[in-house]
Subunit: 1007 residues, 2 copies
């Protein structure tokens, strides 16, 4: 087929050139930049954003019935800084708001009347009288017409009935005038051009039946038929022509069915047409099918061929429904199909009348030459163009072909605006022939080029450019550096800060609620565990009243804090991080004194706090960017998150700043204001958060410092209906209690509570028989006795394979005996006091258990001098002969007692390792690839370390947390942590209006 047309190509092009010549210098009125409409068209073609706003504004305009409403919409659509907004609109947009009054009203009126006159350009009249008048004028100019009644979607049978009535009304009106109209040239009798009825109407069938649905083909065709038949009868009565328009693909089969029923019911009346759309991939089959039907039934037909007006809509629907795209995806393919199908119809001119409906001079020329080649008689085909469009084309057509019919919509401006938008789109689309011809002034050779050639060229030009990576302007997260004691400055900074803090401490520490200090009568003294006579601070204790005050403050703050943009919330964390960095030595010193941390341990705690702030800030920015879901065009579906509500943070003393800052900052950056209850023992370190958030400029009420006894305020906070999240780190017993209480919904409670609980551990380290003992001995020593074993990650069970047992134990015990014990202030000491007297008592109790259950290998104590100071010292203890049934192998001690357990092989070692209720951390030292892999898979704990100690987890790199009875909730410092404070929300916008949708860069558009 292609070859056929190609052979005509020189003639088609020659004819096209003549056509162009005959209209040279003319331009459609809509592109006339002297007029408002022309300006808008020009702006629209230059600026895609403006075009979207403009066309959407046109769409909504008929609804804007009041001056206020109009003003507001003008402002919303056009009050931007974009220099590309036409002045008249911009001025209107800014002035309507400020000026108000008369100026605004005048402006609004101007804008409305400009747009309405723009619409009127495409509509022959708003009421039937106007329409009839317009038709009369057209006929005077020598053009025939086809009349179409604009209609909004009919959603009910009442509306469909009204639509039908509208048609009948205009037919009545025409009938009255009809007699007065002379036939168009060549006319004899009543027929234009000697063969065509003067009256010609188009009907959109779905508007006549509100219950149309594709699943119900028969019902839909019947429903349409019922209301269209009376109109057809009226048309026949007037000797007119009726064409059934084709709408979206969904109703194509019902429409063809309707045509067949109507055509069959009135077999002797030939003036019934139907439309086919060349942009549909199925157009050849459909046209061929109807031609065959016509021949079979002996019923002549009439076809209007168009390119199709719902290309965006059909594509969007297909993509959204995951259907194959039913239209050609390259514009030239539609042009090719148009020429091909036109030829098919012209070849059947004996049974099919043809209306060629296109503004494309190449397509028109092709039809003319094909008809001429096939010797099709003139009365068997005519040309149609849209009213108000492409005036030069219609003029040229009339010059050449004479038989030109204008498609004339009439009706209310409200549905008219939808029609206007479609026409504007048609005029401004990049691939529009009109735009290319009259606005872009493209090369004539290209315009007349065989579309096959165009297609090939376009496909060749297509090339994929990779998308640039997105950045958020923030450096990638990296951990704060570990303290480097090779630097003299670091070695000197600690004693200096300790002296400084020591000189200041000891005073009263107030609560901090809703941005204000609050003092209470009940105090708790926090002391130095190396010297209990040294008081760090006298901390005010909250009671129920203060707890309620704090919850109310947080609850009030929630209403605004949740809506602060994620990026801004993140910035507050980054400021807080800077404060910690600036004060790291003083903050470390406070921990050395209050909880007995060694210098490096204290520094690591602040560093971890910094890491949490930096990491969660970035995480919130990541999560705060709404994530587009799916890529369907015409739809913008975005997933984002909202803070759950007030978070109660119940913190432990062992990582007194890090874990507190971690839980608190995660809540805050997520939009959840916090009521923070530090551990009593480390409340002075906890007060550091008050200073930190002040320095960061956090709004009042978002962070509330509320130390107090668990027995007094613990349950009260957990039960409170206004608390939405409880973030807890501490013992299993307390964690489970919180979980159970929080699951109960209390009166007035608006949400189910979320509990994040990090609980205990009983962590094992396996020593394989090929372990590198240089590393294993020091690793176990550090994991078991670093910070006196007071870490939930601490190694409390070392599981040693038989073959290496003696050698390992020998080196381990010697190593354990070699370390120095004493105050953590002195950096030569490896181990200091436990955190307080209660901890000391608890460890000593477990020491008795250990001694009774196993054999003591090491019981390394501080000197008698130090003992005499009253510091909270306990011996560094290693016992062996422990099996998994022993209490010391099952219960968390939280102190420097290490159990040694013997395993005959790796199976047994793994069995022992997994034999507790906990699943927090673990480690294995091995140089057997297979055993390392087995441990990877079968040593089931939250954080497992291969050839590394089980402690010292870093934010992100070692995102931390366990399962079984070690915790509920996802790893802190990990990618899933913030989700626990957040409720996901999804907003899905249908961005298509009137079949028109902006194309997003990441749309899965057709290729």
């Amino acid at each position: 087929m292609t070859t056929d047309i190609s052979s005509l190509d020189p003639r088609i092009i020659a004819r096209g050139r003549e056509f162009f010549k005959s209209i040279s210098g003319e331009s459609p009125s809509i592109f006339n930049k002297g007029w408002w409409t022309g300006k808008v068209m020009d702006w629209s073609m230059k600026n895609e954003d403006f075009k979207i706003q403009m066309f959407r504004f046109v769409d909504v305009l008929p609804c804007l019935n009041t001056s206020e409403s109009l003003s507001r919409h003008i402002e919303e659509y056009f009050a931007t800084d974009d220099a590309n907004i036409p002045d008249v609109l911009k001025w209107g947009a800014t002035k309507t708001k400020i000026g108000g009054g008369l100026v605004a009203k005048v402006l609004n009126k101007t804008i409305r009347s400009n747009i309405e006159s723009m619409a009127r350009q495409f509509i022959i009249g708003q009421v039937s009288k106007e329409a009839v008048k317009g038709i009369k004028k057209l006929r005077k100019d020598g053009f025939a017409f086809v009349l179409d009644l604009l209609g909004e979607a009919t959603v009910s049978e009442a509306e469909s009935a009204a639509y039908q009535a509208g048609y009948l009304e205009v037919l009545e009106a025409i009938q009255k005038e009809l007699g007065k109209w002379k036939p168009l040239e060549g006319g004899s009798g009543d027929l234009d051009w000697g063969h065509a009825p003067k009256v010609n109407v188009a009907v959109k069938p779905t508007a006549f039946y509100s219950q149309s649905k594709s699943v119900d083909l028969d019902g839909t065709a019947s429903g349409m038929m019922e209301r269209i038949e009376p109109i057809y009868k009226k048309v026949m009565e007037m000797g007119g022509f009726m064409c059934i328009d084709m709408e979206s693909l969904k109703y194509k089969d019902a429409t063809i069915e309707l045509y067949k029923r109507l055509r069959t019911k009135y077999p002797d009346y030939p003036h019934l047409g139907i439309v086919f759309q060349a942009y549909l991939r199925c157009v050849d089959d459909d046209v061929r099918g109807l031609l065959d039907w016509s021949r079979e039934k002996g019923l002549p037909i009439s076809i209007r061929l168009v390119k199709g007006a719902y290309w965006d809509y059909e594509t969007v629907m297909a993509k959204q429904n995951d259907w194959p795209v039913p239209v050609w995806t390259h514009k030239p393919e539609s042009d090719i199909a148009f020429e091909r199908v036109a030829k098919m119809i012209l070849e059947n001119a004996d049974i099919c009348h043809f209306a060629c409906a296109s503004h494309n001079i190449r397509s028109i020329s092709a039809v003319m030459e094909t008809a001429s080649e096939l010797n099709v008689p003139e009365e068997r085909y005519e040309f149609q163009v849209l009213y108000g469009m492409a005036e030069p084309v219609r003029k040229g057509l009339k010059n050449v072909a004479k038989r030109v019919r204008l498609y004339c919509p009439y009706g209310d401006l409200l549905p008219g605006m939808g029609y206007l938008v479609r026409r504007l789109l048609e005029n401004t689309a990049n691939e529009s022939f009109l735009k290319q011809t009259f606005a872009d002034e493209a090369d004539m050779d290209v315009l007349l080029e065989n579309p096959e050639v165009t297609l090939r060229r376009q496909l060749e030009e297509k090339c994929v450019t990779p998308e640039p990576e997105q950045r958020d302007g923030l450096s990638r997260f990296s951990n704060f550096p570990v303290v480097d004691f090779t630097l003299e400055s670091e070695r000197n900074a600690f004693p200096a800060s300790i002296a400084k803090i020591r000189s200041r401490m000891g005073g009263e520490v107030p609560l901090f609620i809703n941005g204000k200090e609050v003092r209470t009568d009940v105090h708790l003294d926090s002391y130095n565990p190396a010297d209990p006579s040294e008081i760090i601070g006298s901390v005010c204790q909250a009671g129920v009243a203060e707890a309620d005050m704090a919850i109310d403050a947080a609850s009030e703050a929630y209403l605004s804090w949740r809506d602060v943009p994620p990026r801004e919330r993140a910035e507050v964390l980054l400021k807080a991080s800077q404060y910690l960095k600036d004060n790291i030595h003083d903050l470390s010193a406070t921990q050395v004194l209050e909880v007995g941390k060694q210098w490096d341990q204290a520094h690591a705690d602040i560093a971890e706090a910094i890491d949490f702030l930096e990491y969660y800030a970035r995480e919130m920015i990541r999560l705060g960017n709404p994530r587009r879901m799916g890529r369907a065009p015409g739809e913008m579906s975005q997933l984002f998150y909202q803070g759950k509500g007030v978070a109660a943070v119940i913190a432990p003393w062992n990582f007194p700043l890090a874990i507190s800052v971690g839980m608190v900052s995660a809540a805050i950056v997520s939009g959840c204001p916090v009521v923070y209850k530090p551990a009593g023992i480390s409340s002075c370190v906890g007060y550091g958060l008050v200073e930190m958030w002040k320095a960061a400029g956090l709004p009042d009420g978002v962070f509330n410092y509320c130390p107090g006894k668990g027995s007094v305020i613990g349950d009260h906070i957990v039960d409170h209906p206004k608390v939405s999240v409880i973030a807890f780190t501490g013992s299993m017993e307390v964690g489970l209690r919180i979980q159970e209480r929080a699951a109960k919904v209390h009166p007035g409670q608006q949400q189910c509570k979320k509990v994040i609980a990090e609980m205990g551990g009983k962590n094992g380290t396996i020593i394989d028989d090929d372990a590198d003992l240089d590393e294993a001995v020091l690793g176990v020593l550090y994991a078991a006795f670093g910070f006196q074993g007071q870490k939930c990650s601490a190694c409390s069970r070392v599981i040693v394979l038989d073959a290496i047992y003696d050698r390992f134990i020998e080196r381990l015990t010697e190593a354990a005996k070699s370390v120095k014990l004493g105050p953590s202030e002195n950096p030569s000491n490896y181990m200091g006091p436990v955190v307080d007297k209660a901890a000391q008592e608890n460890v000593l109790r477990y020491l008795e258990i250990a001694e009774s259950e196993g054999n003591v290998l090491v019981k390394h104590e501080v000197s008698a001098d130090l003992k005499a100071t009253g510091g909270c010292y306990v011996p560094l203890t290693i016992v062996d002969g422990i099996t998994k049934e022993h209490r010391i192998a099952q219960e968390e001690v939280f102190g420097p007692i290490l159990s040694v357990m013997r395993a005959k092989d790796m199976d047994e070692a793994l069995d022992i390792a997994n034999s507790t209720r906990f699943a927090l951390t673990g480690a294995i030292y091995s140089r057997s690839p297979r055993n390392l892999e087995r441990a990877f898979n079968e040593f089931r704990v939250g954080n497992l370390y291969l050839n590394k100690p089980s402690v010292g987890a870093l934010v992100e790199r070692h995102a931390f947390g366990g399962f079984k009875m070690s915790g509920v909730g996802s790893k802190s410092g990990g990618p899933d942590y913030l989700l626990q404070f957040l409720d996901p929300r999804l907003v899905c916008e249908n961005t298509m209006r009137r079949g028109f949708t902006p194309i997003e860069e990441d749309d899965e558009w057709v290729s």
Copy 2:
């Protein structure tokens, strides 16, 4: 400085050329491919993976004390298909396992002895006697020596003391021989070359003090001094030389301090040296500092300059601790520094003796020419190379400079292997001078090139190539196509399938537990709501015994299913999906009959089930790929997930297949076997899951179909200690009860339970005054009455702005009256019966409430004929006059009752919209950009739709779920959903052994 050396460059290069000439044709023995070692070196240089395995194997070898252990490790390290494994190892690896016995033993012995002899090449002796003998031989060949005692890390003071004793022992042994040694050439008296002590030892200071730490500079230096001083005294007694070696940067300052203390304490004895490493960025400052100190104190010193042996280690540590990298990051920079610092030392030859320790001929030549240029006397500098390395270099040096000293380690093979690995690395590193010279046979000009030139060239050559994107071989997720009723085949398929299902149904439906059908005596009949006399199936009901059986089966299956690779679990889902695709019409037909779904609604339910399977399969593959955390070299930290345990799935009837399959497949793909309790009303649809999983080949016990009365087995399942996850979709009342019960930990329970509950909604749709009513009317109609309003997402409140109220209501009520009601089987009907008689009663009860609270606008009922059939019909009802206080505005009806609520403006509309306990879905129709944005932010529900109906959420695109009392847990079909069934685990491996680590592609290595 650079210029200075550059001016010498021609002379340096000339000398280098001569040097090369003098050794032409010679090669270090280690590269001799005729020998086993040479082969291994060759293989290692050609294959990075083999090199890593080989060197790691060398490292672990000394630990492998039994034949079994050796065999096992050979197999683990080398039993791969890699053709690059040397035959002797490969054969050993495969044969040791099978053959066992004698062959294995012989092979093992060969391998061990090969590697040991490899090590011996670099070690002068294992015991002092051997060492002395070796030294004697070296001296005979004209080389001086410096002796170094190999040591493992000393982890205790006992080990440090033993190490000290070792030194004293070898010194004693030497002392006995010393008298017999003639001085080396030019020697007069006892001194070699006329100026150098014959005895020369090197000490590694940290080995002498196990409690060394950088934070404790003074204590560390003292600790080292205490044990090194006796050795130094012994050396002095023998008239020898002692050099303090430099180890890692961490101890550099303590080492310098030690040197100063020792040098000061014995000011008159000049033969004390120290080492500096040219690869440190601080090397210039350090050397300058010691030279200044020497001048100031008037104490001559001696410096050995090396490039440095811990480059990988220092870099890895810095990266892991987020410190600035302390070493030069480009090899030529170290070479440049070496030449620069050598010059500095030579310029101070009057107070500083210099030992140039390098194998690099360019570096050596530069030192020679610089010394010559500066007229440094020969006795002020010497050259050192390592024993067993670079024999041609030492030979060349001896020819030219005479004064060559070999660095000779001696000691046990165990620490010797660590030393061997370092030497092997040095020989095989790409940037190694030795490798380039003797293995790669690089161009001499390049080898002798000024390193400044080399550096510039290398920097210029560097270019970044983008990483290719990772794929997993699976197409991207896309939703299953919506049914397209324009296709005749679809329109015909439904009635055919309905007839087929109808012909088969009505029989007994068994339970399905652990892969077997189980029948019980108690049955529940499921019926067609359009005709309750039609029985769909008689479903066996589980009691407590059957529930326990199902939980036990799941619990047992968990132990293996959790370890099935995620990809394999995903494949099962994809097979299940294929089954649904193949049977979509039959499955739809079952729903039409059992729950009264319209064709399209039923099809959409199966499509959603397919989507869940396809999406969760891909999600698990995504999550199943361990995610590397951090990029620190020397560490491989991976985050991955493990299924929590047995999941109980309690499903609703309204999306009987989709929601069931969603919850069940999420659990299963996560590794959690399922006990599935379908809703009684839709148990036959639920049985479809049995067929589906059978078709997919899911192992027995992973899915258990367990229908039963909630009152009988509900609490029992929820409370069961072996249940880890409860996934529920249904009413708020039941959801909250489950939550509360599940929070209690029962005896024997190993984990805290996770509850995922999707509960109710009371969803509002706002109609703004500029809404496109064509879309809004149809959208609300569909959202409110689609599937009889029995969706948790259904619109049950339409909130209409005053200005558009009348027009909207008029169109809505007309539209509502136009739709057809009747059996869902007939596709022309818009609305069918509700799901059962109980639902009918419930809706009718709410209808009374609605009628009493508001004004009925529409009460559209089925015909009397249909009513008479006894079908569960209720009227389609619209009431207005509803305010937010009304029950009908607050309680979930789950049926076709729509409340109309009037709002004066958007503020009030949003207030009404948010005024319930629920927060599930919502919608707004508006063409005001600002109001759409407000709704985006302030209409706080899980799924909000802009200009779209609130129903019909698609998997992924509209990930579904709410908050407040609408649910706990994250959106189904969304990216966070599977996380709820998973416990995160992290495994962090220290990949560095003996300072050697494989470099991963995504390491954050130095640039």
